[in-house]
């Protein structure tokens, strides 16, 4: 049975190593609500929540961790050059207009539109799964991570709409 994200997280004390390992999986990992809870628990076991004078670096790491896993899952099945475009777009949303122009030098607008529709569907499915998580801090971190993805998705929609239509 493939290793779960929670298992990978628990065996990698350096978070950058976790990101490298997950990136290599190309989205081929399980991320249902149970997996989300297990990953969230592994994160909170390492970085326990505080309610006053919270450690914002640890909180932000939580959002980044969840966002990274959600995005990699959402990109599952897309061609590698398309994945790379979206990874860059989600990492640097302020560069989206330039990234789109670069992408369209070697690809058709239709490919961008089709891949964006697939991405939107995948993100909506993940949002529904996050919605199934019980109330609490694990859900809060996933919602935080998901929020950024939806924000940037909205931004992509604006710029793809301007260029493609």
């Amino acid at each position: 049975m493939p290793e779960s994200l929670a298992e990978i997280f628990r065996r990698t004390p350096v978070v950058a190593d976790f990101f490298k390992i997950v990136l290599q999986l190309e989205g081929n990992f399980s991320l249902n609500p149970e997996d989300m809870e297990a990953l969230g628990q592994a994160y909170f076991d390492r970085y326990p929540e505080k309610f006053v004078q919270r450690n914002l670096e640890e909180v932000r790491l939580g959002y980044e961790l969840m966002r990274f896993c959600l995005l990699e899952k959402a990109l599952l099945g897309l061609p590698s050059e398309v994945k790379e475009f979206y990874r860059k777009a989600f990492a640097t949303p302020e560069d989206i207009p330039v990234l789109i122009q670069g992408f369209l030098k070697s690809s058709e607008p239709g490919q961008l539109r089709t891949s964006f529709e697939r991405l939107q569907t995948a993100l909506s499915e993940l949002k529904n799964m996050v919605g199934e998580l019980p109330k609490g801090m694990i859900k809060e971190r996933f919602l935080g991570g998901l929020s950024t993805l939806f924000n940037i998705n909205y931004l992509l929609k604006i710029f793809i709409g301007r260029l493609v239509t």
Binding site: L56, R60, P93, F150, N151
Partner: protein, 125 residues
């Protein structure tokens, strides 16, 4: 040409700040961001925004409510909206107006709705 409407976004997640700023600027708003309640209040006094979007849980679990309280004391007319993951049912029961908020946008934010609300506060040319 008129001055742009100024929006202050306060959220402890830099990725949220960057992405919200990009959307608001693409929609014609002048946007400022702060990564904590403390930094948000400093920027609020400095840039004199026309509207504030503020997260709840930042350096403290209720940092957003503390920020809204101070803003309403200094500028009671200023619209302050909560950006939060608290859920719609909870939002209905916690008394947002008593905390100093004019309303709440649940994360992930519906930007069609948010931009339509912001449009009502846009400075007229």
């Amino acid at each position: 040409m008129s001055e742009k409407t100024r929006i202050l976004v306060i959220d402890d997640d830099p990725a949220i700040c960057v992405s919200v700023k990009a959307i608001l600027e693409a929609s014609g708003y002048e946007t400022y961001t702060a990564l904590s309640g403390k930094e948000g209040l400093e920027l609020f006094r400095q840039v004199k925004p026309d509207l504030v979007l503020c997260d709840m849980m930042m350096e403290d679990i209720d940092a957003g409510a503390k920020v809204a309280k101070v803003i309403k004391e200094e500028r009671p007319e200023l619209p302050v909206f909560l950006l939060s993951t608290i859920g719609e049912a909870t939002a209905r029961t916690i008394g947002l107006d008593e905390l100093g908020f004019n309303g709440v946008f649940q994360k992930p934010v519906n930007f069609d709705l948010l931009l339509s609300v912001l449009e009502k506060h846009r400075k007229k040319s």
